[in-house]
Symmetry: C2
Subunit: 152 residues, 2 copies
Amino acid sequence: MREPPSSAPEGSLIDPEVHVESFRQAREARRLELVEDYVELIADLIGDGGEARQVDIAARLGVAQPTVAKMLKRLAEDGLVQQRPYRGVFLTAAGEALAAQSRERHRIVERFLCAVGVSPETARRDAEGIEHHVSAETLDAFRRFADGHSDA
Amino acid sequence: MREPPSSAPEGSLIDPEVHVESFRQAREARRLELVEDYVELIADLIGDGGEARQVDIAARLGVAQPTVAKMLKRLAEDGLVQQRPYRGVFLTAAGEALAAQSRERHRIVERFLCAVGVSPETARRDAEGIEHHVSAETLDAFRRFADGHSDA
DNA sequence: GCATAAGTATAGCTATTGCTATAACTGCGC
DNA sequence: GCGCAGTTATAGCAATAGCTATACTTATGC
């Protein structure tokens, strides 16, 4: 009692393959969000005070210290950070690279939001979530726009 | 060997409370993402073909059918959908409301991305992830911008 | 140098979201 | 009305990300 949807979609539904790909991309981004947040924050903490302690990371992220410890173990397995027991945590070359990239993207998104009229506080908070879902092409458009409207 | 960070932040670090709040908001958004995606998709499927079957939802989302079944049970517990065993799934009034809101937000974000010069395909894919992290204020800015540049 | 405070590690729990495999049910053809 | 194909339900597993409680290590003060 269902006609094959081969030719004419009768509603607002888009191509299933595109749909799947969009969701797949969103899931993938969600998986990487936390990793990027951690690496970005560790880079900031090291840049600010010379070291990144678990308690500081936990306080910044708003989570408990064991949660951070577990995550750092995973980041170490992924080769992004290096940790010495009971000592601080450092970024590997790969970690530095990812942090730099994340920070740059974050900065562009935040600046862009301000450029389109969002208040600085909201821009900062929304950028934290949006940055992970911005593709290279969109980031490029954001950068161009922000550059062109930096003082409007 | 660490001075108290009471007065002057010497690096690029923002106020810890703001930091925590940003991450908390991002985590909260992440928790709601899936729910909104499901409800939005169910509304689309019903609007398109009159019914939303688990296999169709699974095919669109790119996940397995049992994953959908489990999620629908949760949505039913949350009062967003109503399901009859071995029959289709329907949206409750609350589900309809959430779907309408999600769809509207999705539409605005996608339209906005196109307005700033992103290609339609990329706009569609990025919107799927971005929409969940856009606050009311930012959405308003997006809408204003898209309305003013609909044909530029 | 020893006690205490601060920071880190570990154990064990929960919830979420994905999977595969398989059982149960519906509806259709014949 | 029986069987088979399609659909849904259920069971059980894994990974992730959070938590509390507690043990361990380091560093500091005296």
